[in-house]
């Protein structure tokens, strides 16, 4: 915001309070009420404002407090943000970033725990990014702000407390490029957001206790996913486990799996294994939430399954 006066910030409680998770604290004092605006509970209008402002040259960042509430502005995202560049024949676009807290683990039940990425994968024009580390969060967020396309930026609410090295200076990470977090030879494990940490934990345990070598890939950009990195790793290992926290049916894992069948069927030594939440809502009680959403044990089990196959 300091580098680019076109960047504005809108959302519920983003200004005076600094956001539900404190992510925008201090920005109102620094950039003033024209550029940092608290809004009423009006998700559709928030997205519409962002679209309109972007069409005439601003670069709005909006915060949709919880990703579950994106359903309220789905029309704006799907019919306006995603299609603007096409509709205007390249003369303008919705260069917006939608920051939103996603994911389970907060014991917050059905309407505060969902992972919305799959809701957007059938919409040409949308990009969905999700970091797993503080370093990636900064680099990807700056890249998203500078990107001329509408970018939905998922912040897993269980990762807000994560610490790690973050340089002071501005830097970007490329959108659409995955990162191999841990090299391995037996199985490729593809994950994103919080599940990256679970995948790494499972990989460490499997290496130490069962001598299974997992290559763990952090997608970082969920839609569109980095086919080249995923397929290159699969070529090396011949086995793949896809991990994603959203319900299984129609998830991004479904899409990645379909691409593997089309592009890399001959590289497979075993069927693709998908690790997702069950196809049920996320309930409140810890025992229910933990059972429904995937954890390191589920990932390890899937890895053993593709090895045994």
């Amino acid at each position: 915001m300091a580098n680019d006066s076109r960047v504005i910030l809108l959302g519920e409680d983003v200004a005076r309070m600094g956001g539900d998770f404190g992510a925008t604290m201090g920005l109102l004092a620094k950039f003033g009420p024209d550029r940092v605006r608290d809004t009423p509970l009006s998700e559709a209008a928030i997205l519409g404002v962002a679209n309109g402002a972007a069409f005439v040259g601003l670069r709005p960042i909006v915060e949709i407090m919880f990703s579950d509430f994106i359903t309220e502005c789905y029309d704006q995202l799907v019919n306006n943000s995603a299609k603007a560049h096409y509709m205007f024949e390249g003369k303008a676009s919705a260069a917006i970033v939608v920051r939103t807290a996603s994911g389970a683990g907060f014991r917050a039940a059905y309407h505060h725990s969902q992972n919305p990425e799959a809701w957007f994968q059938n919409i040409p024009g949308l990009t969905v990014v999700g970091p797993s580390t503080p370093y990636d969060a900064k680099g990807l967020l700056i890249a998203a702000i500078r990107d001329d396309n509408p970018v939905i930026f998922l912040e897993h609410k269980m990762l807000y407390g994560t610490t790690g090295e973050v340089p002071e200076e501005s830097y970007t990470l490329p959108i659409g490029v995955a990162e191999v977090k841990r090299p391995g030879t037996d199985v490729t494990v593809v994950a994103s957001l919080k599940q990256v940490h679970y995948a790494l934990a499972a990989a460490e345990k499997l290496a130490a206790e069962e001598e299974i070598s997992c290559e763990v890939i952090d997608l970082r950009t969920l839609i569109p996913f980095d086919q080249a990195t995923v397929l290159a790793s699969l070529k090396k290992t011949g086995r793949i486990v896809l991990v994603n926290e959203a319900p299984k049916t129609g998830s991004i894992n479904s899409e990645i799996s379909a691409v593997i069948m089309e592009e890399a069927f001959k590289d497979l030594k075993a069927p693709v294994e998908r690790v997702n939440s069950l196809d049920v809502p996320v309930g409140f009680a810890p025992v229910i939430e933990d059972y429904v959403t995937p954890g390191p044990a589920d990932i390890a089990k899937a890895v053993r399954k593709v090895i045994d196959n």
């Binding site: 504005i8 024209d34 550029r35 605006r37 809004t39 009423p40 009006s42 559709a44 209008a45 928030i46 997205l47 519409g48 404002v49 962002a50 679209n51 309109g52 402002a53 972007a54 069409f55 005439v56 040259g57 601003l58 709005p60 029309d75 704006q76 019919n79 306006n80 560049h85 096409y86 509709m87 205007f88 024949e89 390249g90 003369k91 303008a92 676009s93 260069a95 040409p124 024009g125 990009t127 990107d147 001329d148 396309n149 659409g176």
Partner: protein, 324 residues
Amino acid sequence: MDKQKLLDYYRKMVLVRRFEETMEEYAKKGYIPGFLHLGIGQEASQVGAMSAFEPGDYVLPDHRGHGVCLMVGTPTREVMAEIFGKKTGTNGGRGGSMHVADLKRGNIGNNAIQGSTMATACGLAVSAQVKKTKSITFDFLGDGTVGRGEFHESLNLAGIWKLPIVYVLVNNGYAISTRATDAHPLADLAKMGCAYNIPGVTVDGNDVEAVAAAVKEAADRARRGDGATIVELKTYRWQGHFSGDPASYRPAEELAAWKEKCPIKHLRTQLLGKKLTDEAALKAIADDVEREIQDALKFAIDSPTPTIEDALRFVYVGREVAGK
């Protein structure tokens, strides 16, 4: 009374009327793909309201907004070519009748989802506040839009942020077949702004002078920084919802009565009655308009269609999409 201004309104209304009649004719001949929503009968609302539009302003046309698109200053041939789905159209033939946009002249385009443009309008107005310009936004709506959540969310935002917007609420009595009076509890929809501290005024939408005066006042208010206004224009669409809709849901006598209140006829009677012009001058205007329409028609018919390569362009900025 400014004679030149009235003659200018007359020419513009005749242009919009002839444009719409020509579109209907060529839709029936099979030249126009898809739906076509016509605004015949609503010319005074479009021409009168847009007389307050200035360069640097923004406008979001409504569902029958061809006339509004023309009033921005976009060449008639480019609007027509877009409706014909041609590469020379405002959107390269990818938007069609419903999405004619001309960003450099401030037309941000319409949206098939009624009311979605209302939130976009708030964003355009916010951009003017952030950039500290005097741009105001004209947001054309139909009566059906009043039912949408975004109508209320957007008026609420416009109210709290004092956004420089003129809501031109074209109440033509029907949302497809549903009467406005069956869909909304108020007869005068301008009063809907009351809950958001946005003043509203209801005007005869077939009287171009009355429309122009009311919208000018609202525009001045917005430019002064005093916020949004709803100007409701009571009018009527002569055609069905889309070209080809027989509109059997409304009584013939109702249509006949509104045809008597034709905005062009009304202005013509005034101009002649007050001896501000004569038949010959009006005929000259009509002939001039006809030349413009025929030129646009030839342009639209002769223009190339988009190619299949165009289908893949501009999905993303800086990212290719695979073809077949």
